[in-house]
Subunit: 192 residues, 2 copies
């Protein structure tokens, strides 16, 4: 069984490697590069605390300087725009433009999703769970901040019925907000 498992794990590792390489080349579509696609995807899924250059840098596992360059490139293409914040005038919000959303609809990673949707339905769930626990096993080694949604966040403070607020900022969170990625995410009692 140990041998069998060893065989499987080598194969899994190889397959993931190859899938990674295959998707890598997909991510140069539309004149963008992988980092820029990641950024568009991130901005579409990040909540209002998290659509900033610094949070983006954290998410991408890069530096603020590099993230800034990516942002500039996307802005010059008209896919995102910077919005000055009033509360803290150093800070900037990044927002997808209309054009940006149109481009994101052509996300090349959708191919992967498409391929996944062709799997037998019962296999899909198992696959997702397997990958998820694989990632957990990996993540502890690799450093890198965790990003999760408010719904599973330790800061979430469910006050009244249906309502909830963030224990960190005190803001109340619409249900829409709670399904988005947050920089401040911390694994907590609410989460698994």
């Amino acid at each position: 069984m140990a041998v069998l498992n060893k065989m499987h794990s080598a194969r899994i590792s190889d397959l993931l490697d190859r899938i990674g390489r295959a998707t890598h080349c997909l991510q140069f579509a539309d004149g963008l590069n992988p980092a820029q696609w990641e950024t568009l995807r991130y901005l579409a899924r990040a909540n209002r605390y998290s659509r900033t250059p610094t949070a983006l840098a954290d998410y991408l596992g890069t530096t603020k300087g590099t993230a800034s360059q990516t942002v500039r490139a996307l802005e010059s293409k008209g896919y995102i725009q910077r919005v000055k914040r009033t509360c803290d005038r150093r800070s900037v919000w990044l927002e997808l433009t209309e054009t940006g959303q149109t481009v994101l609809a052509r996300d090349p990673m959708a191919r992967l999703e498409y391929a996944a949707s062709a799997l037998p339905p019962d296999l899909g769930g198992v696959l997702a769970d397997g990958l998820s626990s694989l990632l957990r096993g990996l993540k502890s080694d690799c450093g890198g901040r965790e990003f999760g949604v408010c719904a599973q966040c330790g800061h979430l403070d469910p006050t009244a019925d249906g309502e909830a607020r963030c224990g960190l900022t005190g803001d109340s969170l619409a249900s829409e907000d709670r399904t988005q990625i947050c920089v401040e995410f911390r694994a907590g009692p609410t989460g698994a």
Copy 2:
């Protein structure tokens, strides 16, 4: 069910994305870069027809020029060496050195393998199969040559008992050779 499947496929896509990013950063260990690690791994697994710069370029999905630079970098570090071939004096064989094998033993992708081996045994097989068919679905889109082992190759010509030879080159293949990656691989009747 369609909805369920859509959920799963989005999650799978996201997970693969994140695993890819996590492993990417791992592959800068020991002063090498991802392409160089890939090269070491490839050379360790490629058969004697396939340990050449051109085959490497094909495998990595890059150009010969770029592959040549990677080779040079690894050679200057002393991890591989070029061996002039006598049969075709244009051609070069790439071989791992002792040092190269030592370094490869510290392959950062082993972390992934380790994480995979921690999965429940039955899950491992399912996961591998799922990923495999996912890759198949993806590969048809993405172009990129298939690389497989002789044992599943259409060129394999099992002559006598236990013996086999390559129908392309006419060479007889030791059983060791048959488990290695070959550039000339072609999906054939022997394979699945």
